[in-house]
Amino acid sequence: MHRARDAAIDVAAAAAGDALGFFAAMHAVFRQAKEVAGERRSIGLRIAGRSVCMRFAGPALLPVLAPAFAHLLRSSAEPPDLTVCCWDDASTGVTTPEPRVSADRAGIEFVDGPVKLAWEPGQRAIAAFSATQRLALVRFQDAGAVPVWERAAPLRRILHWWASGLGLQLVHAAAVGTRQGGVLLVGRGGSGKSTTALACVGSALGYAGDDYCLLSFDDGPRVHALYGSGKADAASGARLPRLQSTFAASALRGEGKSVIFVEDSFPGTMIDTFPLRAVVVPRIAGDAACRLDPMPRAAALRAVAPSTLFQLPGDRGESLSRLAALVRELPCWQLSLGPDPAAAQPLLENLLRNEARPR
Protein backbone atom coordinates (compact mmCIF):
# COMPACT_ATOMS: atom_id res chain seq x y z
CA MET A 1 0.00 0.00 0.00
CA HIS A 2 2.79 2.44 0.93
CA ARG A 3 4.57 1.59 -2.28
CA ALA A 4 1.53 2.65 -4.29
CA ARG A 5 1.15 5.94 -2.42
CA ASP A 6 4.82 6.80 -2.87
CA ALA A 7 4.58 6.07 -6.58
CA ALA A 8 1.43 8.16 -6.88
CA ILE A 9 3.33 11.30 -5.96
CA ASP A 10 5.63 10.77 -8.95
CA VAL A 11 2.67 10.02 -11.14
CA ALA A 12 0.97 13.26 -10.19
CA ALA A 13 4.11 15.18 -11.13
CA ALA A 14 4.33 13.37 -14.46
CA ALA A 15 0.70 14.13 -15.18
CA ALA A 16 1.03 17.85 -14.67
CA GLY A 17 2.03 18.49 -18.30
CA ASP A 18 -0.68 17.80 -20.83
CA ALA A 19 -3.17 15.18 -21.94
CA LEU A 20 -0.44 12.87 -23.26
CA GLY A 21 1.42 13.15 -19.97
CA PHE A 22 -1.79 12.50 -18.09
CA PHE A 23 -2.45 9.40 -20.19
CA ALA A 24 1.07 8.07 -19.54
CA ALA A 25 0.67 8.76 -15.85
CA MET A 26 -2.65 6.93 -15.75
CA HIS A 27 -1.09 3.94 -17.47
CA ALA A 28 1.66 3.92 -14.89
CA VAL A 29 -0.94 3.91 -12.12
CA PHE A 30 -2.65 0.92 -13.72
CA ARG A 31 0.63 -0.98 -13.67
CA GLN A 32 1.07 -0.06 -10.02
CA ALA A 33 -2.46 -1.18 -9.27
CA LYS A 34 -1.74 -4.57 -10.82
CA GLU A 35 1.35 -4.98 -8.68
CA VAL A 36 -0.28 -3.80 -5.49
CA ALA A 37 -3.55 -5.69 -5.88
CA GLY A 38 -1.74 -8.89 -6.74
CA GLU A 39 -4.39 -9.84 -9.27
CA ARG A 40 -4.09 -10.04 -13.03
CA ARG A 41 -7.30 -10.91 -14.81
CA SER A 42 -8.40 -10.31 -18.34
CA ILE A 43 -11.37 -11.18 -20.51
CA GLY A 44 -11.60 -11.28 -24.30
CA LEU A 45 -14.59 -9.81 -26.15
CA ARG A 46 -15.59 -9.94 -29.80
CA ILE A 47 -17.19 -6.62 -30.77
CA ALA A 48 -18.22 -6.01 -34.39
CA GLY A 49 -15.69 -8.58 -35.56
CA ARG A 50 -12.86 -7.01 -33.58
CA SER A 51 -11.03 -8.41 -30.60
CA VAL A 52 -11.17 -6.38 -27.39
CA CYS A 53 -9.27 -7.31 -24.25
CA MET A 54 -10.36 -5.97 -20.86
CA ARG A 55 -7.62 -6.18 -18.23
CA PHE A 56 -8.46 -5.73 -14.59
CA ALA A 57 -6.18 -4.74 -11.72
CA GLY A 58 -7.61 -6.37 -8.65
CA PRO A 59 -10.83 -8.33 -8.40
CA ALA A 60 -13.32 -5.56 -7.60
CA LEU A 61 -14.25 -4.16 -11.03
CA LEU A 62 -14.58 -7.40 -12.98
CA PRO A 63 -18.00 -8.33 -11.54
CA VAL A 64 -19.12 -4.71 -11.98
CA LEU A 65 -18.21 -4.17 -15.64
CA ALA A 66 -18.10 -7.65 -17.17
CA PRO A 67 -21.73 -8.91 -16.85
CA ALA A 68 -23.03 -6.50 -19.50
CA PHE A 69 -20.54 -8.00 -21.97
CA ALA A 70 -21.12 -11.68 -21.08
CA HIS A 71 -22.66 -12.46 -24.48
CA LEU A 72 -19.53 -11.14 -26.23
CA LEU A 73 -17.01 -13.24 -24.32
CA ARG A 74 -14.47 -14.96 -26.55
CA SER A 75 -11.02 -16.45 -26.19
CA SER A 76 -8.53 -13.76 -25.21
CA ALA A 77 -5.75 -15.59 -27.07
CA GLU A 78 -5.86 -13.49 -30.24
CA PRO A 79 -4.05 -10.14 -30.40
CA PRO A 80 -6.49 -7.43 -29.34
CA ASP A 81 -7.56 -4.55 -31.57
CA LEU A 82 -8.22 -2.65 -28.35
CA THR A 83 -6.98 -3.18 -24.81
CA VAL A 84 -8.96 -1.62 -21.97
CA CYS A 85 -7.20 -1.39 -18.61
CA CYS A 86 -9.64 -1.09 -15.72
CA TRP A 87 -9.04 -0.39 -12.06
CA ASP A 88 -10.37 1.40 -9.04
CA ASP A 89 -8.34 3.19 -6.41
CA ALA A 90 -10.33 2.03 -3.38
CA SER A 91 -9.73 -1.70 -3.78
CA THR A 92 -6.21 -1.55 -5.22
CA GLY A 93 -4.85 1.13 -2.90
CA VAL A 94 -3.35 3.26 -5.65
CA THR A 95 -3.87 7.00 -6.00
CA THR A 96 -4.77 8.09 -9.50
CA PRO A 97 -4.31 11.78 -10.32
CA GLU A 98 -7.55 13.62 -11.00
CA PRO A 99 -8.28 16.77 -12.99
CA ARG A 100 -8.73 19.90 -10.96
CA VAL A 101 -12.13 21.33 -11.74
CA SER A 102 -14.07 24.08 -10.11
CA ALA A 103 -16.41 22.58 -7.52
CA ASP A 104 -19.40 24.51 -8.88
CA ARG A 105 -18.92 23.21 -12.40
CA ALA A 106 -21.13 20.19 -13.00
CA GLY A 107 -20.78 17.82 -15.90
CA ILE A 108 -18.11 16.06 -17.88
CA GLU A 109 -14.70 17.50 -18.75
CA PHE A 110 -13.65 16.28 -22.17
CA VAL A 111 -10.29 16.64 -23.87
CA ASP A 112 -9.97 15.86 -27.57
CA GLY A 113 -6.58 15.47 -29.17
CA PRO A 114 -3.85 12.84 -29.59
CA VAL A 115 -5.59 11.15 -26.68
CA LYS A 116 -9.17 11.56 -25.63
CA LEU A 117 -9.97 12.04 -21.95
CA ALA A 118 -13.22 12.34 -20.06
CA TRP A 119 -13.57 13.14 -16.38
CA GLU A 120 -16.84 12.62 -14.56
CA PRO A 121 -16.58 14.31 -11.18
CA GLY A 122 -19.81 12.76 -9.90
CA GLN A 123 -18.42 9.25 -10.20
CA ARG A 124 -14.79 10.39 -9.94
CA ALA A 125 -14.31 8.32 -13.08
CA ILE A 126 -11.74 8.87 -15.80
CA ALA A 127 -11.87 7.38 -19.30
CA ALA A 128 -8.86 7.81 -21.56
CA PHE A 129 -8.21 6.53 -25.07
CA SER A 130 -5.23 6.50 -27.39
CA ALA A 131 -6.06 5.41 -30.93
CA THR A 132 -2.41 5.09 -31.89
CA GLN A 133 -1.68 2.81 -28.93
CA ARG A 134 -5.05 1.02 -29.30
CA LEU A 135 -5.21 1.40 -25.54
CA ALA A 136 -7.93 2.64 -23.21
CA LEU A 137 -7.71 3.35 -19.50
CA VAL A 138 -10.74 3.30 -17.26
CA ARG A 139 -10.46 4.28 -13.64
CA PHE A 140 -13.14 4.51 -10.98
CA GLN A 141 -12.52 5.79 -7.49
CA ASP A 142 -14.46 2.93 -5.92
CA ALA A 143 -15.78 -0.16 -7.71
CA GLY A 144 -18.48 -0.41 -5.07
CA ALA A 145 -19.84 3.01 -6.00
CA VAL A 146 -20.19 2.52 -9.75
CA PRO A 147 -23.76 3.55 -10.54
CA VAL A 148 -26.27 1.12 -11.92
CA TRP A 149 -26.58 2.83 -15.30
CA GLU A 150 -22.81 2.48 -15.79
CA ARG A 151 -22.99 -1.22 -14.93
CA ALA A 152 -25.75 -1.66 -17.48
CA ALA A 153 -23.75 0.03 -20.25
CA PRO A 154 -20.07 0.29 -19.32
CA LEU A 155 -17.28 1.99 -21.29
CA ARG A 156 -19.65 3.90 -23.59
CA ARG A 157 -17.27 6.74 -24.30
CA ILE A 158 -14.28 4.45 -24.78
CA LEU A 159 -16.20 2.27 -27.21
CA HIS A 160 -17.53 5.34 -29.04
CA TRP A 161 -14.05 6.80 -29.53
CA TRP A 162 -12.57 3.48 -30.60
CA ALA A 163 -15.44 2.57 -32.90
CA SER A 164 -15.58 6.01 -34.53
CA GLY A 165 -11.96 5.65 -35.62
CA LEU A 166 -12.96 2.43 -37.38
CA GLY A 167 -15.92 4.05 -39.18
CA LEU A 168 -18.41 2.45 -36.78
CA GLN A 169 -21.03 4.35 -34.81
CA LEU A 170 -22.19 3.85 -31.25
CA VAL A 171 -25.82 4.87 -31.24
CA HIS A 172 -28.40 5.57 -28.55
CA ALA A 173 -30.85 2.94 -29.74
CA ALA A 174 -32.35 -0.48 -29.13
CA ALA A 175 -32.38 -3.22 -31.74
CA VAL A 176 -34.29 -6.44 -32.35
CA GLY A 177 -34.20 -8.82 -35.28
CA THR A 178 -33.09 -12.11 -36.76
CA ARG A 179 -30.02 -13.15 -38.73
CA GLN A 180 -31.91 -12.08 -41.85
CA GLY A 181 -32.56 -8.57 -40.63
CA GLY A 182 -33.88 -6.35 -37.90
CA VAL A 183 -34.90 -2.88 -36.86
CA LEU A 184 -33.17 -0.09 -35.00
CA LEU A 185 -35.43 1.49 -32.38
CA VAL A 186 -34.43 5.10 -31.81
CA GLY A 187 -35.57 8.00 -29.69
CA ARG A 188 -34.82 9.89 -26.55
CA GLY A 189 -35.22 8.33 -23.11
CA GLY A 190 -38.85 7.58 -22.33
CA SER A 191 -39.89 7.20 -25.96
CA GLY A 192 -40.53 3.47 -25.56
CA LYS A 193 -37.54 1.92 -27.31
CA SER A 194 -36.46 -0.13 -24.26
CA THR A 195 -39.99 -1.33 -23.62
CA THR A 196 -40.43 -2.31 -27.25
CA ALA A 197 -37.14 -4.20 -27.39
CA LEU A 198 -37.81 -5.98 -24.09
CA ALA A 199 -41.33 -6.86 -25.22
CA CYS A 200 -39.71 -8.90 -27.99
CA VAL A 201 -37.72 -11.08 -25.56
CA GLY A 202 -38.91 -14.65 -25.97
CA SER A 203 -40.27 -14.03 -29.47
CA ALA A 204 -38.79 -14.86 -32.86
CA LEU A 205 -36.91 -11.56 -32.74
CA GLY A 206 -33.52 -11.67 -31.09
CA TYR A 207 -32.42 -8.94 -28.68
CA ALA A 208 -29.40 -6.76 -29.44
CA GLY A 209 -29.76 -4.16 -26.68
CA ASP A 210 -32.27 -1.70 -25.29
CA ASP A 211 -30.25 1.50 -25.04
CA TYR A 212 -26.96 1.48 -26.96
CA CYS A 213 -25.81 -0.48 -30.00
CA LEU A 214 -22.97 -0.32 -32.46
CA LEU A 215 -23.51 0.25 -36.18
CA SER A 216 -21.30 -0.71 -39.10
CA PHE A 217 -21.86 0.43 -42.67
CA ASP A 218 -19.81 -1.84 -44.94
CA ASP A 219 -22.21 -3.82 -47.15
CA GLY A 220 -25.19 -1.88 -45.78
CA PRO A 221 -26.12 -0.79 -42.27
CA ARG A 222 -25.67 -3.52 -39.69
CA VAL A 223 -26.20 -3.52 -35.94
CA HIS A 224 -23.86 -5.14 -33.41
CA ALA A 225 -25.01 -5.87 -29.88
CA LEU A 226 -22.91 -4.22 -27.20
CA TYR A 227 -24.70 -4.71 -23.92
CA GLY A 228 -26.82 -7.60 -22.72
CA SER A 229 -28.64 -5.48 -20.19
CA GLY A 230 -32.24 -4.36 -20.10
CA LYS A 231 -33.72 -1.60 -17.95
CA ALA A 232 -37.26 -0.93 -16.84
CA ASP A 233 -39.00 1.20 -14.26
CA ALA A 234 -41.95 -0.17 -12.31
CA ALA A 235 -44.52 1.03 -14.85
CA SER A 236 -42.67 -0.44 -17.83
CA GLY A 237 -41.92 -3.67 -15.96
CA ALA A 238 -45.63 -4.11 -15.29
CA ARG A 239 -46.27 -3.92 -19.04
CA LEU A 240 -43.78 -6.74 -19.71
CA PRO A 241 -45.40 -9.85 -18.26
CA ARG A 242 -42.64 -12.18 -19.53
CA LEU A 243 -40.00 -10.17 -17.68
CA GLN A 244 -41.93 -8.78 -14.73
CA SER A 245 -40.73 -11.34 -12.19
CA THR A 246 -37.15 -11.10 -13.47
CA PHE A 247 -37.14 -7.35 -13.03
CA ALA A 248 -38.78 -7.68 -9.62
CA ALA A 249 -36.07 -10.09 -8.50
CA SER A 250 -33.18 -7.97 -9.75
CA ALA A 251 -30.89 -6.61 -7.08
CA LEU A 252 -29.44 -4.12 -9.55
CA ARG A 253 -31.55 -1.00 -9.07
CA GLY A 254 -30.98 2.69 -9.31
CA GLU A 255 -32.80 5.90 -10.19
CA GLY A 256 -36.13 4.10 -10.18
CA LYS A 257 -35.10 1.42 -12.66
CA SER A 258 -34.17 -2.23 -12.36
CA VAL A 259 -31.53 -3.79 -14.57
CA ILE A 260 -31.46 -7.36 -15.78
CA PHE A 261 -29.02 -9.22 -17.99
CA VAL A 262 -31.27 -10.74 -20.59
CA GLU A 263 -29.16 -13.74 -21.54
CA ASP A 264 -28.92 -14.85 -17.89
CA SER A 265 -32.67 -15.21 -17.59
CA PHE A 266 -33.53 -16.03 -21.20
CA PRO A 267 -30.64 -18.01 -22.74
CA GLY A 268 -30.48 -17.78 -26.50
CA THR A 269 -32.29 -14.45 -26.63
CA MET A 270 -29.28 -12.29 -27.48
CA ILE A 271 -28.27 -11.92 -31.10
CA ASP A 272 -24.85 -10.50 -31.81
CA THR A 273 -25.42 -8.91 -35.21
CA PHE A 274 -27.89 -8.53 -38.06
CA PRO A 275 -28.39 -6.34 -41.11
CA LEU A 276 -30.74 -3.44 -40.53
CA ARG A 277 -33.94 -3.23 -42.61
CA ALA A 278 -35.63 -0.21 -41.02
CA VAL A 279 -35.34 2.59 -38.50
CA VAL A 280 -38.30 2.65 -36.14
CA VAL A 281 -39.14 5.59 -33.88
CA PRO A 282 -41.46 4.55 -31.03
CA ARG A 283 -43.71 6.95 -29.21
CA ILE A 284 -46.10 6.32 -26.34
CA ALA A 285 -49.60 6.66 -27.78
CA GLY A 286 -51.75 6.17 -24.70
CA ASP A 287 -54.72 3.88 -25.16
CA ALA A 288 -54.54 3.70 -28.93
CA ALA A 289 -53.65 0.40 -30.59
CA CYS A 290 -50.08 -0.21 -31.72
CA ARG A 291 -49.49 0.87 -35.28
CA LEU A 292 -46.70 1.63 -37.73
CA ASP A 293 -46.73 4.62 -40.06
CA PRO A 294 -44.15 5.82 -42.56
CA MET A 295 -42.05 8.65 -41.24
CA PRO A 296 -40.00 11.37 -42.98
CA ARG A 297 -36.29 10.65 -42.89
CA ALA A 298 -35.46 14.03 -41.41
CA ALA A 299 -37.85 13.38 -38.52
CA ALA A 300 -36.13 10.03 -37.89
CA LEU A 301 -32.76 11.78 -37.89
CA ARG A 302 -34.09 14.26 -35.34
CA ALA A 303 -35.11 11.28 -33.19
CA VAL A 304 -31.77 9.49 -33.29
CA ALA A 305 -29.07 12.11 -33.71
CA PRO A 306 -29.44 14.60 -30.83
CA SER A 307 -29.82 11.95 -28.13
CA THR A 308 -26.70 10.20 -29.41
CA LEU A 309 -24.62 13.32 -29.97
CA PHE A 310 -25.44 14.97 -26.66
CA GLN A 311 -24.29 11.89 -24.72
CA LEU A 312 -21.09 11.05 -26.55
CA PRO A 313 -18.34 13.65 -26.76
CA GLY A 314 -15.90 13.40 -29.63
CA ASP A 315 -16.25 12.96 -33.40
CA ARG A 316 -19.77 14.37 -33.33
CA GLY A 317 -19.70 15.80 -36.83
CA GLU A 318 -18.78 12.36 -38.15
CA SER A 319 -21.45 10.80 -35.95
CA LEU A 320 -24.15 13.03 -37.42
CA SER A 321 -22.99 12.20 -40.95
CA ARG A 322 -23.12 8.47 -40.24
CA LEU A 323 -26.58 8.70 -38.70
CA ALA A 324 -27.80 10.74 -41.66
CA ALA A 325 -26.40 8.06 -43.98
CA LEU A 326 -28.29 5.47 -41.96
CA VAL A 327 -31.69 7.11 -42.35
CA ARG A 328 -30.99 7.84 -46.03
CA GLU A 329 -30.37 4.14 -46.58
CA LEU A 330 -33.28 2.68 -44.62
CA PRO A 331 -37.04 3.17 -44.56
CA CYS A 332 -38.17 5.03 -41.45
CA TRP A 333 -41.30 4.24 -39.47
CA GLN A 334 -43.12 5.69 -36.50
CA LEU A 335 -44.30 3.07 -34.02
CA SER A 336 -47.23 4.25 -31.92
CA LEU A 337 -47.16 2.17 -28.75
CA GLY A 338 -50.43 1.26 -27.13
CA PRO A 339 -50.97 -0.05 -23.62
CA ASP A 340 -49.67 -3.53 -24.52
CA PRO A 341 -46.11 -3.24 -25.90
CA ALA A 342 -46.18 -6.95 -26.86
CA ALA A 343 -48.49 -5.92 -29.67
CA ALA A 344 -45.53 -4.18 -31.30
CA GLN A 345 -43.65 -7.43 -31.87
CA PRO A 346 -45.92 -8.90 -34.61
CA LEU A 347 -45.99 -5.47 -36.27
CA LEU A 348 -42.19 -5.43 -36.37
CA GLU A 349 -42.05 -9.02 -37.67
CA ASN A 350 -44.48 -8.09 -40.41
CA LEU A 351 -42.44 -5.00 -41.25
CA LEU A 352 -39.31 -7.13 -41.52
CA ARG A 353 -41.06 -9.61 -43.82
CA ASN A 354 -42.05 -6.72 -46.10
CA GLU A 355 -38.59 -5.19 -46.00
CA ALA A 356 -36.82 -8.51 -46.55
CA ARG A 357 -36.65 -8.02 -50.29
CA PRO A 358 -33.12 -7.45 -51.61
CA ARG A 359 -32.13 -3.82 -51.30
Binding site: A12, R100, R316
Partner: protein
Protein backbone atom coordinates in the same frame (compact mmCIF):
# COMPACT_ATOMS: atom_id res chain seq x y z
CA UNK B 1 -21.55 40.57 -44.00
CA UNK B 2 -20.42 36.99 -44.41
CA UNK B 3 -20.83 34.07 -42.06
CA UNK B 4 -19.59 30.59 -41.36
CA UNK B 5 -20.87 27.64 -39.36
CA UNK B 6 -20.24 28.04 -35.63
CA UNK B 7 -18.12 24.92 -35.52
CA UNK B 8 -17.16 22.89 -33.60
CA UNK B 9 -20.12 23.72 -31.35
CA UNK B 10 -22.56 23.27 -34.23
CA UNK B 11 -22.90 20.35 -36.64
CA UNK B 12 -25.38 20.04 -39.48
CA UNK B 13 -26.70 17.68 -42.09
CA UNK B 14 -29.10 18.09 -45.02
CA UNK B 15 -31.76 15.47 -45.60
CA UNK B 16 -34.60 15.58 -48.12
CA UNK B 17 -34.53 19.38 -48.34
CA UNK B 18 -34.46 19.84 -44.57
CA UNK B 19 -31.39 20.93 -42.63
CA UNK B 20 -30.87 19.39 -39.22
CA UNK B 21 -28.61 21.63 -37.14
CA UNK B 22 -27.41 20.55 -33.71
CA UNK B 23 -25.96 23.01 -31.21
CA UNK B 24 -23.84 20.67 -29.11
CA UNK B 25 -23.11 23.12 -26.33
CA UNK B 26 -26.66 24.30 -25.70
CA UNK B 27 -28.48 21.00 -26.13
CA UNK B 28 -30.82 22.44 -28.72
CA UNK B 29 -31.35 21.32 -32.30
CA UNK B 30 -33.12 22.86 -35.26
CA UNK B 31 -34.92 22.05 -38.44
CA UNK B 32 -34.57 24.49 -41.34
CA UNK B 33 -37.22 24.18 -44.01
CA UNK B 34 -38.81 26.17 -46.81
CA UNK B 35 -36.10 28.02 -48.67
CA UNK B 36 -34.04 27.70 -45.47
CA UNK B 37 -32.05 24.70 -46.67
CA UNK B 38 -30.86 26.39 -49.85
CA UNK B 39 -30.16 29.71 -48.14
CA UNK B 40 -28.39 27.98 -45.24
CA UNK B 41 -25.91 26.36 -47.63
CA UNK B 42 -25.12 29.80 -49.06
CA UNK B 43 -24.85 31.48 -45.67
CA UNK B 44 -22.42 28.94 -44.17
CA UNK B 45 -20.55 28.93 -47.47
CA UNK B 46 -19.55 32.54 -46.80
CA UNK B 47 -21.64 34.04 -49.58
CA UNK B 48 -22.50 37.71 -48.93
CA UNK B 49 -26.13 38.57 -48.20
CA UNK B 50 -26.69 40.68 -51.35
CA UNK B 51 -25.41 37.84 -53.51
CA UNK B 52 -27.74 35.36 -51.80
CA UNK B 53 -30.68 37.75 -52.22
CA UNK B 54 -29.89 38.21 -55.89
CA UNK B 55 -29.67 34.46 -56.39
CA UNK B 56 -32.98 33.81 -54.64
CA UNK B 57 -34.74 36.68 -56.41
CA UNK B 58 -33.67 35.34 -59.78
CA UNK B 59 -35.26 31.98 -59.08
CA UNK B 60 -38.54 32.91 -57.36
CA UNK B 61 -41.59 34.96 -58.14
CA UNK B 62 -41.36 37.14 -55.01
CA UNK B 63 -40.34 40.79 -54.96
CA UNK B 64 -36.67 41.47 -54.10
CA UNK B 65 -37.56 43.48 -51.00
CA UNK B 66 -39.64 40.60 -49.65
CA UNK B 67 -36.81 38.14 -50.20
CA UNK B 68 -34.26 40.52 -48.68
CA UNK B 69 -36.41 41.08 -45.58
CA UNK B 70 -36.95 37.34 -45.08
CA UNK B 71 -33.27 36.64 -45.58
CA UNK B 72 -32.27 39.27 -43.03
CA UNK B 73 -34.77 37.86 -40.51
CA UNK B 74 -33.48 34.33 -41.14
CA UNK B 75 -29.83 35.29 -40.76
CA UNK B 76 -30.56 37.31 -37.60
CA UNK B 77 -32.24 34.28 -36.09
CA UNK B 78 -29.37 31.98 -37.07
CA UNK B 79 -26.98 34.45 -35.44
CA UNK B 80 -29.08 34.85 -32.36
CA UNK B 81 -29.19 31.07 -31.92
CA UNK B 82 -25.39 31.04 -32.39
CA UNK B 83 -25.61 28.62 -35.30
CA UNK B 84 -23.49 30.93 -37.46
CA UNK B 85 -20.82 33.48 -36.67
CA UNK B 86 -19.50 36.42 -38.67
CA UNK B 87 -16.54 35.43 -40.79
CA UNK B 88 -14.18 38.31 -41.43
CA UNK B 89 -11.76 36.00 -43.21
CA UNK B 90 -14.19 35.03 -45.98
CA UNK B 91 -13.14 36.04 -49.45
CA UNK B 92 -15.15 39.01 -50.74
CA UNK B 93 -15.28 37.22 -54.06
CA UNK B 94 -16.86 34.06 -52.67
CA UNK B 95 -19.25 32.97 -55.40
CA UNK B 96 -22.79 31.85 -54.85
CA UNK B 97 -22.92 28.11 -54.42
CA UNK B 98 -25.07 25.76 -56.43
CA UNK B 99 -27.70 25.14 -53.76
CA UNK B 100 -30.11 27.69 -55.21
CA UNK B 101 -32.35 26.76 -58.14
CA UNK B 102 -31.17 27.75 -61.60
CA UNK B 103 -32.28 31.22 -62.65
CA UNK B 104 -35.11 31.01 -65.14
CA UNK B 105 -37.01 28.27 -63.32
CA UNK B 106 -38.96 30.69 -61.15
CA UNK B 107 -40.99 29.17 -58.35
CA UNK B 108 -43.12 30.61 -55.57
CA UNK B 109 -40.99 31.85 -52.69
CA UNK B 110 -41.30 29.82 -49.49
CA UNK B 111 -39.89 31.83 -46.62
CA UNK B 112 -37.03 30.17 -44.72
CA UNK B 113 -38.28 28.62 -41.51
CA UNK B 114 -36.47 27.64 -38.30
CA UNK B 115 -38.02 25.15 -35.92
CA UNK B 116 -36.20 24.97 -32.60
CA UNK B 117 -36.24 21.85 -30.40
CA UNK B 118 -35.27 22.11 -26.73
CA UNK B 119 -36.56 18.75 -25.51
CA UNK B 120 -33.06 17.34 -25.04
CA UNK B 121 -31.75 20.21 -22.94
CA UNK B 122 -32.58 18.45 -19.69
CA UNK B 123 -30.10 15.73 -20.65
CA UNK B 124 -27.36 18.29 -21.05
CA UNK B 125 -28.33 20.15 -17.90
CA UNK B 126 -27.77 16.96 -15.89
CA UNK B 127 -24.49 16.06 -17.58
CA UNK B 128 -23.11 19.01 -19.55
CA UNK B 129 -20.02 18.23 -21.57
CA UNK B 130 -17.24 20.82 -21.36
CA UNK B 131 -14.68 20.48 -24.11
CA UNK B 132 -11.42 21.75 -22.66
CA UNK B 133 -7.94 22.44 -23.97
CA UNK B 134 -5.68 19.37 -24.04
CA UNK B 135 -2.60 21.39 -23.12
CA UNK B 136 -2.02 21.86 -19.44
CA UNK B 137 -5.02 19.87 -18.28
CA UNK B 138 -4.61 20.58 -14.60
CA UNK B 139 -4.32 17.63 -12.31
CA UNK B 140 -4.23 16.99 -8.67
CA UNK B 141 -3.27 14.00 -6.58
CA UNK B 142 -6.10 12.61 -4.53
CA UNK B 143 -3.43 11.92 -1.90
CA UNK B 144 -3.15 15.67 -1.41
CA UNK B 145 -6.79 16.07 -0.36
Amino acid sequence: MRFRLNSPDVVQEVLDGEVIVVHLASGTYYSLTGSGAAIWAQVIGGVAEPVIVAGVVSSVTAAPEVVAAELRRFVRELQSEQLIVADASASPDAPAGDALPEAGTREPFVAPSIQKYSDMQDLLLVDPIHEVDPVGWPTRSTAAE
